[in-house]
Protein backbone atom coordinates (compact mmCIF):
# COMPACT_ATOMS: atom_id res chain seq x y z
CA UNK A 1 0.00 0.00 0.00
CA UNK A 2 1.28 3.40 -0.98
CA UNK A 3 1.56 5.49 2.17
CA UNK A 4 2.63 8.62 0.30
CA UNK A 5 0.68 11.68 1.27
CA UNK A 6 1.26 13.34 -2.12
CA UNK A 7 0.54 12.81 -5.78
CA UNK A 8 3.47 13.66 -8.11
CA UNK A 9 2.76 16.06 -10.92
CA UNK A 10 2.14 14.53 -14.32
CA UNK A 11 4.37 15.50 -17.26
CA UNK A 12 1.71 17.89 -18.44
CA UNK A 13 1.35 19.42 -14.97
CA UNK A 14 5.10 20.03 -14.79
CA UNK A 15 4.91 21.69 -18.21
CA UNK A 16 1.98 23.87 -17.12
CA UNK A 17 3.79 24.86 -13.91
CA UNK A 18 6.78 25.98 -15.99
CA UNK A 19 4.59 27.81 -18.53
CA UNK A 20 2.93 29.78 -15.75
CA UNK A 21 6.33 31.30 -14.90
CA UNK A 22 7.11 32.48 -18.44
CA UNK A 23 6.14 36.13 -18.89
CA UNK A 24 4.73 37.72 -22.01
CA UNK A 25 7.37 38.52 -24.60
CA UNK A 26 10.10 36.05 -23.70
CA UNK A 27 12.12 34.22 -26.35
CA UNK A 28 12.29 30.57 -25.33
CA UNK A 29 13.93 27.38 -26.56
CA UNK A 30 12.34 24.11 -25.47
CA UNK A 31 14.23 20.81 -25.31
CA UNK A 32 12.68 17.48 -26.19
CA UNK A 33 10.35 15.60 -23.81
CA UNK A 34 8.49 17.49 -21.07
CA UNK A 35 9.96 20.87 -22.16
CA UNK A 36 8.26 20.52 -25.56
CA UNK A 37 4.91 20.28 -23.78
CA UNK A 38 5.42 23.76 -22.29
CA UNK A 39 4.46 25.42 -25.59
CA UNK A 40 0.87 24.14 -25.30
CA UNK A 41 0.47 25.40 -21.72
CA UNK A 42 1.24 29.11 -22.16
CA UNK A 43 -1.52 31.02 -20.34
CA UNK A 44 -4.06 32.82 -22.49
CA UNK A 45 -3.10 36.36 -23.45
CA UNK A 46 0.68 35.90 -23.33
CA UNK A 47 2.81 35.94 -26.45
CA UNK A 48 5.91 33.80 -26.02
CA UNK A 49 8.23 33.38 -29.01
CA UNK A 50 9.56 29.85 -29.33
CA UNK A 51 12.91 29.19 -30.99
CA UNK A 52 14.27 26.01 -32.54
CA UNK A 53 17.97 25.32 -33.13
CA UNK A 54 17.32 24.44 -36.77
CA UNK A 55 16.50 28.02 -37.65
CA UNK A 56 12.98 28.95 -36.57
CA UNK A 57 11.57 31.70 -34.38
CA UNK A 58 7.87 31.96 -33.65
CA UNK A 59 6.92 28.30 -33.66
CA UNK A 60 3.18 27.74 -33.48
CA UNK A 61 1.19 24.64 -32.51
CA UNK A 62 1.52 21.25 -34.19
CA UNK A 63 -0.36 21.10 -37.52
CA UNK A 64 -3.34 18.93 -38.31
CA UNK A 65 -2.23 16.05 -40.55
CA UNK A 66 -3.74 17.73 -43.59
CA UNK A 67 -1.79 20.90 -42.95
CA UNK A 68 1.70 19.42 -42.57
CA UNK A 69 4.47 21.27 -44.39
CA UNK A 70 7.24 18.67 -44.81
CA UNK A 71 9.89 21.45 -44.68
CA UNK A 72 8.68 22.75 -41.34
CA UNK A 73 10.14 20.75 -38.47
CA UNK A 74 11.53 21.67 -35.07
CA UNK A 75 14.81 20.51 -33.52
CA UNK A 76 13.07 17.38 -32.25
CA UNK A 77 12.17 16.65 -35.90
CA UNK A 78 8.44 17.03 -35.25
CA UNK A 79 6.19 18.85 -37.71
CA UNK A 80 5.32 22.34 -36.50
CA UNK A 81 3.69 25.52 -37.78
CA UNK A 82 4.97 29.09 -37.84
CA UNK A 83 3.17 31.88 -35.99
CA UNK A 84 2.59 35.14 -37.89
CA UNK A 85 5.76 37.14 -37.20
CA UNK A 86 7.90 34.03 -37.29
CA UNK A 87 11.13 33.86 -39.28
CA UNK A 88 13.70 31.46 -40.74
CA UNK A 89 17.50 31.71 -40.51
CA UNK A 90 20.53 29.47 -40.85
CA UNK A 91 22.28 27.43 -38.20
CA UNK A 92 25.13 29.87 -37.51
CA UNK A 93 22.63 32.68 -36.92
CA UNK A 94 20.45 30.37 -34.85
CA UNK A 95 23.30 29.55 -32.50
CA UNK A 96 24.39 33.19 -32.46
CA UNK A 97 20.98 33.80 -30.85
CA UNK A 98 21.64 31.00 -28.36
CA UNK A 99 25.29 31.60 -27.48
CA UNK A 100 24.93 35.38 -27.70
CA UNK A 101 22.46 35.52 -24.82
CA UNK A 102 19.49 36.64 -26.90
CA UNK A 103 17.13 33.93 -25.67
CA UNK A 104 15.52 34.67 -22.32
CA UNK A 105 15.21 31.02 -21.42
CA UNK A 106 15.78 27.45 -22.37
CA UNK A 107 13.92 24.61 -20.73
CA UNK A 108 15.86 21.35 -20.80
CA UNK A 109 15.47 17.83 -19.56
CA UNK A 110 18.35 16.44 -17.50
CA UNK A 111 19.72 13.29 -15.92
CA UNK A 112 21.28 15.19 -13.03
CA UNK A 113 21.65 18.72 -11.70
CA UNK A 114 24.24 19.56 -9.04
CA UNK A 115 23.76 22.08 -6.25
CA UNK A 116 26.19 24.47 -8.00
CA UNK A 117 24.08 24.37 -11.17
CA UNK A 118 26.14 21.84 -13.11
CA UNK A 119 23.94 19.96 -15.56
CA UNK A 120 24.32 16.48 -17.05
CA UNK A 121 21.82 15.78 -19.79
CA UNK A 122 23.54 14.25 -22.80
CA UNK A 123 25.37 11.05 -21.91
CA UNK A 124 24.84 8.49 -19.20
CA UNK A 125 28.41 7.22 -18.97
CA UNK A 126 31.92 8.15 -20.00
CA UNK A 127 31.86 5.23 -22.42
CA UNK A 128 28.60 5.78 -24.21
CA UNK A 129 28.63 4.07 -27.54
CA UNK A 130 27.93 6.62 -30.25
CA UNK A 131 27.34 9.58 -27.95
CA UNK A 132 25.21 12.44 -29.27
CA UNK A 133 25.19 15.98 -27.91
CA UNK A 134 23.18 18.13 -30.33
CA UNK A 135 22.72 21.69 -29.10
CA UNK A 136 22.54 20.95 -25.37
CA UNK A 137 25.94 22.42 -24.49
CA UNK A 138 25.32 25.62 -26.47
CA UNK A 139 21.90 26.12 -24.89
CA UNK A 140 23.15 25.48 -21.37
CA UNK A 141 25.89 28.11 -21.55
CA UNK A 142 24.19 30.60 -23.83
CA UNK A 143 20.63 31.44 -22.86
CA UNK A 144 19.97 34.01 -20.13
CA UNK A 145 18.25 31.43 -17.94
CA UNK A 146 18.31 27.64 -17.86
CA UNK A 147 15.37 25.85 -16.31
CA UNK A 148 15.37 22.08 -15.99
CA UNK A 149 12.26 19.91 -16.17
CA UNK A 150 12.74 16.39 -14.83
CA UNK A 151 11.40 13.85 -12.40
CA UNK A 152 12.81 14.22 -8.93
CA UNK A 153 14.06 10.61 -8.96
CA UNK A 154 15.37 8.21 -11.57
CA UNK A 155 13.34 5.12 -12.42
CA UNK A 156 15.57 3.26 -10.00
CA UNK A 157 14.66 5.73 -7.24
CA UNK A 158 17.99 7.58 -7.22
CA UNK A 159 17.99 11.36 -6.66
CA UNK A 160 18.59 13.51 -9.75
CA UNK A 161 19.38 16.59 -7.63
CA UNK A 162 22.86 15.83 -6.39
CA UNK A 163 25.95 17.32 -4.76
CA UNK A 164 28.10 16.53 -7.82
CA UNK A 165 27.03 15.11 -11.15
CA UNK A 166 28.31 11.58 -11.76
CA UNK A 167 27.24 11.62 -15.41
CA UNK A 168 29.28 13.53 -18.03
CA UNK A 169 28.67 17.28 -17.74
CA UNK A 170 26.78 19.30 -20.30
CA UNK A 171 27.80 22.61 -18.74
CA UNK A 172 29.13 24.00 -15.50
CA UNK A 173 27.08 26.10 -13.08
CA UNK A 174 24.39 26.99 -15.57
CA UNK A 175 21.02 25.86 -14.18
CA UNK A 176 18.87 28.54 -12.53
CA UNK A 177 15.77 26.60 -11.59
CA UNK A 178 14.51 23.02 -11.49
CA UNK A 179 10.91 21.94 -11.93
CA UNK A 180 10.30 18.34 -10.84
CA UNK A 181 7.19 16.26 -10.28
CA UNK A 182 7.58 17.09 -6.57
CA UNK A 183 8.93 20.62 -6.23
CA UNK A 184 10.29 23.82 -7.72
CA UNK A 185 13.87 24.41 -6.64
CA UNK A 186 16.10 27.42 -7.26
CA UNK A 187 19.82 26.97 -7.74
CA UNK A 188 21.46 29.75 -5.75
CA UNK A 189 24.89 30.60 -4.36
CA UNK A 190 23.70 28.82 -1.18
CA UNK A 191 22.80 25.71 -3.16
CA UNK A 192 19.31 24.26 -3.68
CA UNK A 193 16.53 26.46 -2.32
CA UNK A 194 12.99 25.10 -2.22
CA UNK A 195 10.62 27.58 -3.85
CA UNK A 196 7.57 25.33 -3.84
CA UNK A 197 6.50 21.79 -3.00
CA UNK A 198 3.44 19.86 -4.13
CA UNK A 199 0.54 19.46 -1.75
CA UNK A 200 1.18 16.98 1.05
CA UNK A 201 4.98 17.13 0.78
CA UNK A 202 7.14 18.15 3.71
CA UNK A 203 10.70 19.47 3.54
CA UNK A 204 11.91 16.37 5.40
CA UNK A 205 10.25 14.07 2.90
CA UNK A 206 11.66 16.04 -0.05
CA UNK A 207 15.13 16.11 1.52
CA UNK A 208 15.07 12.33 1.80
CA UNK A 209 14.56 12.16 -1.99
CA UNK A 210 17.30 14.68 -2.77
CA UNK A 211 21.06 14.08 -3.03
CA UNK A 212 22.17 17.46 -1.67
CA UNK A 213 21.08 19.77 1.11
CA UNK A 214 17.81 21.64 0.55
CA UNK A 215 17.53 25.15 1.93
CA UNK A 216 14.45 27.24 2.60
CA UNK A 217 14.22 30.74 1.12
CA UNK A 218 15.64 33.47 3.34
CA UNK A 219 12.91 35.42 5.07
Amino acid sequence: MDTRTWTPLSRREIAARIASDIPNGWYVNLGIGVPTLVADEVPEGREVVFHAENGLLGIGPAPADADIDPWLINAGKQYVTLHPGGSYFHHADSFAMIRGGHLDLCVLGAYQVAENGDIANWATSENDTAPAVGGAMDLSVGTRRVWVAMNHLTREGEPRLVRDCTYPLTAQASVDRIYTDLAVIDVTPRGFVVAEMIAGMTLEQLQALTGATLHMPEA
Binding site: N24, G25, Y27, G45, E47, V49, H51, L57, G58, L82, P84, G85, G86, S87, Y88, F89, A92, F95, A96, M97, I98, R99, G100, G101, H102, L103, G142
Partner: protein
Protein backbone atom coordinates in the same frame (compact mmCIF):
# COMPACT_ATOMS: atom_id res chain seq x y z
CA UNK B 1 0.89 40.59 -26.66
CA UNK B 2 4.28 41.76 -27.81
CA UNK B 3 4.38 45.32 -29.10
CA UNK B 4 7.81 46.86 -29.51
CA UNK B 5 6.56 49.96 -31.28
CA UNK B 6 6.94 53.32 -29.57
CA UNK B 7 5.28 56.52 -30.74
CA UNK B 8 8.12 59.01 -30.55
CA UNK B 9 11.87 59.28 -30.87
CA UNK B 10 11.99 60.51 -27.26
CA UNK B 11 10.12 57.42 -26.14
CA UNK B 12 12.41 55.21 -28.21
CA UNK B 13 15.45 56.71 -26.49
CA UNK B 14 14.12 56.72 -22.94
CA UNK B 15 16.65 55.39 -20.45
CA UNK B 16 19.82 56.13 -22.44
CA UNK B 17 22.52 57.45 -20.16
CA UNK B 18 25.77 59.38 -19.98
CA UNK B 19 28.81 57.32 -20.85
CA UNK B 20 26.90 54.82 -22.95
CA UNK B 21 28.35 53.05 -25.99
CA UNK B 22 26.23 53.49 -29.12
CA UNK B 23 26.46 51.31 -32.21
CA UNK B 24 25.30 53.17 -35.30
CA UNK B 25 24.27 51.42 -38.50
CA UNK B 26 24.73 53.06 -41.84
CA UNK B 27 27.39 53.45 -44.49
CA UNK B 28 27.76 57.04 -45.56
CA UNK B 29 24.29 58.52 -45.73
CA UNK B 30 22.57 55.24 -46.54
CA UNK B 31 20.95 53.26 -43.75
CA UNK B 32 21.90 55.71 -41.01
CA UNK B 33 19.19 56.27 -38.40
CA UNK B 34 19.49 60.04 -38.54
CA UNK B 35 16.30 60.82 -36.61
CA UNK B 36 17.31 58.60 -33.71
CA UNK B 37 20.88 59.94 -33.71
CA UNK B 38 19.61 63.50 -33.62
CA UNK B 39 17.23 62.44 -30.86
CA UNK B 40 20.30 61.82 -28.68
CA UNK B 41 20.98 65.56 -28.79
CA UNK B 42 17.59 66.25 -27.22
CA UNK B 43 18.23 63.79 -24.38
CA UNK B 44 21.22 65.82 -23.26
CA UNK B 45 23.43 62.79 -22.63
CA UNK B 46 27.19 63.09 -23.07
CA UNK B 47 30.54 61.29 -22.70
CA UNK B 48 29.43 58.84 -25.32
CA UNK B 49 31.43 56.20 -27.13
CA UNK B 50 30.22 55.79 -30.70
CA UNK B 51 30.92 52.85 -32.99
CA UNK B 52 30.21 53.68 -36.62
CA UNK B 53 31.87 53.05 -39.95
CA UNK B 54 32.01 56.76 -40.85
CA UNK B 55 32.08 59.88 -38.75
CA UNK B 56 28.73 60.93 -40.19
CA UNK B 57 27.92 62.94 -43.30
CA UNK B 58 27.04 66.56 -43.92
CA UNK B 59 25.84 68.61 -40.97
CA UNK B 60 23.37 66.08 -39.57
CA UNK B 61 23.25 63.15 -37.18
CA UNK B 62 26.64 62.07 -35.94
CA UNK B 63 28.26 65.24 -37.29
CA UNK B 64 25.97 67.29 -35.02
CA UNK B 65 26.69 65.09 -32.00
CA UNK B 66 30.40 65.60 -32.64
CA UNK B 67 29.99 69.33 -33.04
CA UNK B 68 28.13 69.59 -29.75
CA UNK B 69 30.89 67.76 -27.92
CA UNK B 70 28.82 64.79 -26.81
CA UNK B 71 31.25 62.15 -27.97
CA UNK B 72 34.29 61.10 -25.97
CA UNK B 73 35.50 58.32 -28.24
CA UNK B 74 34.87 57.17 -31.79
CA UNK B 75 35.49 53.58 -32.91
CA UNK B 76 35.50 53.76 -36.65
CA UNK B 77 37.05 52.51 -39.90
CA UNK B 78 36.75 55.68 -41.95
CA UNK B 79 36.44 58.82 -39.79
CA UNK B 80 35.80 61.24 -42.62
CA UNK B 81 32.75 63.39 -43.09
CA UNK B 82 31.79 64.60 -46.54
CA UNK B 83 30.99 68.28 -46.18
CA UNK B 84 32.29 68.79 -42.64
CA UNK B 85 35.62 69.18 -40.87
CA UNK B 86 34.24 68.86 -37.36
CA UNK B 87 35.84 65.49 -36.65
CA UNK B 88 39.28 66.57 -37.92
CA UNK B 89 39.15 69.67 -35.75
CA UNK B 90 38.24 67.75 -32.60
CA UNK B 91 40.86 65.12 -33.35
CA UNK B 92 43.68 67.63 -33.96
CA UNK B 93 42.71 69.47 -30.80
CA UNK B 94 42.95 66.22 -28.83
CA UNK B 95 39.33 66.57 -27.81
CA UNK B 96 38.21 63.17 -29.05
CA UNK B 97 39.70 59.71 -28.82
CA UNK B 98 39.85 57.61 -32.00
CA UNK B 99 40.12 53.85 -32.23
CA UNK B 100 40.71 53.10 -35.89
CA UNK B 101 39.58 49.58 -36.88
CA UNK B 102 39.69 47.91 -40.31
CA UNK B 103 36.18 47.81 -41.70
CA UNK B 104 35.90 44.02 -41.80
CA UNK B 105 37.31 43.66 -38.32
CA UNK B 106 34.80 46.27 -37.09
CA UNK B 107 31.91 44.27 -38.56
CA UNK B 108 33.28 40.95 -37.32
CA UNK B 109 33.93 42.24 -33.79
CA UNK B 110 30.29 43.32 -33.51
CA UNK B 111 29.05 40.08 -35.06
CA UNK B 112 31.19 38.18 -32.52
CA UNK B 113 29.63 40.14 -29.65
CA UNK B 114 26.20 39.27 -30.97
CA UNK B 115 27.13 35.61 -31.40
CA UNK B 116 28.61 35.07 -27.92
CA UNK B 117 32.14 34.75 -29.27
CA UNK B 118 34.40 36.78 -26.96
CA UNK B 119 37.41 36.87 -29.31
CA UNK B 120 38.68 35.58 -32.64
CA UNK B 121 41.79 35.55 -34.79
CA UNK B 122 42.03 37.33 -38.12
CA UNK B 123 44.80 37.91 -40.67
CA UNK B 124 43.62 41.49 -41.19
CA UNK B 125 46.05 44.10 -39.94
CA UNK B 126 49.01 41.82 -39.19
CA UNK B 127 52.25 43.76 -39.41
CA UNK B 128 50.51 47.15 -39.54
CA UNK B 129 50.29 49.86 -36.94
CA UNK B 130 46.62 49.00 -36.33
CA UNK B 131 47.78 45.67 -34.88
CA UNK B 132 50.43 47.24 -32.66
CA UNK B 133 50.40 45.62 -29.23
CA UNK B 134 47.94 42.92 -30.27
CA UNK B 135 48.59 39.24 -29.71
CA UNK B 136 49.78 37.48 -32.87
CA UNK B 137 49.44 33.77 -33.43
CA UNK B 138 50.21 31.43 -36.27
CA UNK B 139 47.45 29.36 -37.89
CA UNK B 140 47.90 27.26 -41.05
CA UNK B 141 51.09 29.01 -42.02
CA UNK B 142 49.74 32.49 -41.47
CA UNK B 143 50.07 35.11 -38.73
CA UNK B 144 46.79 36.34 -37.28
CA UNK B 145 45.90 38.90 -34.62
CA UNK B 146 43.52 38.36 -31.73
CA UNK B 147 40.53 40.68 -31.84
CA UNK B 148 37.92 40.99 -29.11
CA UNK B 149 34.16 41.24 -29.44
CA UNK B 150 32.73 44.75 -29.54
CA UNK B 151 29.34 45.20 -27.91
CA UNK B 152 27.25 48.27 -27.24
CA UNK B 153 24.70 49.50 -24.77
CA UNK B 154 22.42 50.79 -27.50
CA UNK B 155 22.23 50.21 -31.26
CA UNK B 156 20.48 52.81 -33.40
CA UNK B 157 19.54 51.34 -36.75
CA UNK B 158 17.43 52.07 -39.79
CA UNK B 159 15.03 49.57 -41.32
CA UNK B 160 12.83 49.64 -44.40
CA UNK B 161 9.94 47.57 -43.01
CA UNK B 162 9.18 46.40 -39.50
CA UNK B 163 6.38 44.77 -37.49
CA UNK B 164 5.38 44.89 -33.82
CA UNK B 165 7.62 41.91 -32.98
CA UNK B 166 10.59 43.93 -34.22
CA UNK B 167 11.23 41.87 -37.34
CA UNK B 168 13.09 43.99 -39.87
CA UNK B 169 13.93 44.20 -43.55
CA UNK B 170 16.25 46.71 -45.20
CA UNK B 171 16.48 48.34 -48.59
CA UNK B 172 19.39 47.66 -50.95
CA UNK B 173 22.69 49.07 -49.62
CA UNK B 174 20.81 50.36 -46.56
CA UNK B 175 21.37 46.95 -44.99
CA UNK B 176 25.16 47.37 -44.39
CA UNK B 177 26.04 47.47 -40.66
CA UNK B 178 22.44 47.57 -39.40
CA UNK B 179 21.83 43.82 -38.88
CA UNK B 180 25.28 43.50 -37.27
CA UNK B 181 24.71 46.38 -34.83
CA UNK B 182 21.29 44.95 -33.99
CA UNK B 183 22.92 41.71 -32.75
CA UNK B 184 25.62 43.40 -30.71
CA UNK B 185 23.78 45.81 -28.41
CA UNK B 186 21.98 45.27 -25.14
CA UNK B 187 19.18 47.48 -26.49
CA UNK B 188 18.46 47.85 -30.19
CA UNK B 189 16.25 50.66 -31.42
CA UNK B 190 15.11 50.82 -35.04
CA UNK B 191 13.57 53.63 -37.04
CA UNK B 192 11.53 52.17 -39.86
CA UNK B 193 10.15 53.71 -43.02
CA UNK B 194 7.19 51.29 -43.05
CA UNK B 195 5.36 49.58 -40.21
CA UNK B 196 3.51 46.43 -41.26
CA UNK B 197 0.94 44.25 -39.49
CA UNK B 198 2.32 41.12 -37.84
CA UNK B 199 2.57 38.37 -40.45
CA UNK B 200 2.90 40.75 -43.40
CA UNK B 201 6.66 40.21 -43.63
CA UNK B 202 7.50 36.94 -45.39
CA UNK B 203 9.36 34.73 -42.84
CA UNK B 204 11.81 33.77 -45.61
CA UNK B 205 12.82 37.40 -46.19
CA UNK B 206 13.11 38.83 -42.67
CA UNK B 207 16.75 39.87 -42.32
CA UNK B 208 16.81 40.80 -38.63
CA UNK B 209 14.47 38.64 -36.56
CA UNK B 210 12.73 40.50 -33.75
CA UNK B 211 14.80 38.75 -31.09
CA UNK B 212 17.53 41.28 -31.86
CA UNK B 213 15.26 44.33 -31.63
CA UNK B 214 13.82 46.04 -28.55
CA UNK B 215 12.05 49.16 -29.81
CA UNK B 216 10.66 50.24 -33.17
CA UNK B 217 9.68 53.77 -34.09
CA UNK B 218 7.82 54.46 -37.31
CA UNK B 219 9.30 57.50 -39.08
CA UNK B 220 8.71 58.25 -42.72
CA UNK B 221 12.25 59.45 -43.07
CA UNK B 222 12.29 59.69 -46.85
CA UNK B 223 15.37 59.10 -49.00
CA UNK B 224 19.01 59.32 -47.92
CA UNK B 225 20.95 62.33 -49.19
CA UNK B 226 24.39 61.73 -50.59
Amino acid sequence: MIDKTVETVAGALSGVADGATFLLGGFGAVGQATHLIEGILETGIKDLTVVANNAGYGQVGLARLLKEGRIRKLICSYPRIVGSTVFEELYRAGRIELELVPQGTLAERMRAAGAGVPAFYTPTGVGTRLAAGKEVRHFNGRDCVLEEALSGDVALIEAWKADRWGNLTYRAAGRNFNPVCAMAARMTIAQTQHLEPLGALDPETIVTPGIFVDRVVHIEYGSPRL
